[in-house]
């Protein structure tokens, strides 16, 4: 993802720190080294921001973490997605929209320390570029995305709790997409799919209430 704007709040920092501590604990019991962490949650729950803060905490510890965002892996590119969804119906919205073959190619190349290519959306132009990265020397793969919980190979599966109201509220402030009645239906459908996967997670963060821990 290129040209994403992020705002780091104390909640993001405390959430990332919780995941960070868990990662260190898992690494101690896992000499294999290479680890995969997935971060899931609804739109606007803070997945990508927490991933970045976590990535930086790890880098400071000498652990190199590469973040991949599943929003980059949609089979239908951003500029065509709405028309495609309208044509195929709300039922077409869900994890089948991702290009899982490319996701798994990245996972396997990461595990084998190889060079790999991935799609990369420029959030200004909405065009899809191609990013080539060398996984050699990368210790940790952080995969964030709505449906990242589908990845069984993950060593840690994080889910960020957020009420549906909050998801809608976030949309009003977000400049990313216009909130109209169709967009609302899309959010409702994504909400259902994400929540159907929630049981696969093994680490939960209540983002809203983490405020009170500070």
């Amino acid at each position: 993802m290129l040209h994403d704007l992020i705002t780091i709040t104390p909640q993001h920092e405390s959430s990332a720190k919780m995941v960070f501590d868990k990662v260190l604990e898992l690494r101690n019991g896992n000499p294999r080294g290479k680890m995969i962490i997935t971060i899931s949650g609804e739109v606007g729950s803070g997945k990508s921001t927490i991933s970045i803060v976590l990535g930086r905490l790890l880098t400071n510890q000498g652990i190199r973490a590469k973040i991949i965002d599943l929003d980059d892996f949609y089979k239908i590119p951003p500029l065509e997605r709405r028309a495609w969804r309208e044509k195929h119906g709300l039922q077409s919205i869900g994890y089948e929209e991702y290009d899982w073959k490319k996701v798994y190619q990245n996972i396997s190349h990461f595990l084998q320390n190889k060079v790999c290519s991935m799609p990369c959306v420029d959030l200004i132009t909405n065009h899809v570029d191609e990013l080539i990265t060398d996984y050699k020397g990368v210790d940790l793969l952080i995969i964030n995305g709505l449906y990242s919980l589908k990845i069984k190979e993950a060593d840690l599966k994080v889910f960020i709790e957020q009420s549906y109201d909050k998801t809608i509220e976030y949309q009003h402030y977000s400049l990313k997409e216009k909130l109209d009645s169709y967009r609302l239906k899309v959010l409702q459908r994504e909400h259902e799919v994400v929540n159907s996967l929630k049981g696969l997670a093994d680490f939960f963060i209540d983002f809203e209430s983490s405020l009170y821990h500070l």
């Binding site: 880098t59 420029d122 200004i124 065009h127 570029d129």
Partner: protein, 211 residues
């Protein structure tokens, strides 16, 4: 990166200027010192142009350093900051190649630094679908292959508080970092006469006096 109202207001004026002076496959360059708001301004301008139906892609020259991010500091110290900090740290051949690819609407490969891993990835983009390029960086307006040059007048001394921490929030200010900013200041200010538009310290936009 934090885009504020002042960036947006300056971006509106610059975007209007760009549209009024629009050229086919136009290249706009933005220069200014570290912390002056180049990326924010480029981002805000690109967003406004996108609303006008123009696909403008920002290009950050910081991706083109010849030295690797993790080795740069050490390299600068070894060679002497005042001797090496400046234009020649960038791979201009590669920048000019990418600008030329844009002019010709070709597919192009460029370096792209991952700010978390600090590795240099490669990014392939199809310039055929991009209408304008917004090249942003300390010395971006130095390139001859540019149609409009924007210069931000804020200096590092006026944005001091921004420099006390690195991207990860770690305290990094030391003598070497200050010396680097001081040297960059000299090199950047030397480019100011090339500017077509000036963004003042208060973020007002003015046309540069015709020299």
């Amino acid at each position: 990166m934090l885009i504020t109202e002042k960036h947006k207001q300056a971006a509106e004026i610059i975007a209007a200027h760009i549209i009024n002076n629009r050229k086919d496959r136009m290249i706009i360059a933005i220069s200014g010192e570290s912390g002056s708001g180049k990326s924010e301004l480029a981002h805000a301008i690109a967003k406004i142009l996108r609303k006008e139906g123009i696909f403008a892609k920002p290009l950050h020259t910081d991706n083109y350093y010849k030295t690797h991010p993790l080795e740069r500091r050490e390299w600068r110290l070894r060679h002497g900051i005042e001797n090496v900090v400046g234009y020649d740290e960038y791979d201009w051949e590669k920048i000019n190649q990418n600008l030329d690819d844009f002019r010709n609407g070709r597919r192009s490969e460029m370096p792209c630094v991952d700010l978390v891993t600090e590795q240099v990835d490669r990014l392939i983009t199809n310039f055929g679908e991009v209408d304008m390029l917004l090249v942003e960086g300390l010395y971006a307006i130095k390139s001859d292959n540019v149609d409009l040059r924007v210069f931000i007048e804020l200096t590092y001394l006026e944005t001091k508080e921004k420099h006390t921490k690195d991207a990860r929030g770690k305290e990094i200010m030391d003598e070497a970092r200050w010396a680097t900013l001081g040297q960059e200041h000299k090199m950047v200010q030397a480019l100011k006469p090339r500017a077509d538009l000036l963004v003042t310290k208060e973020y007002a936009v003015a046309k540069a006096a015709i020299s």
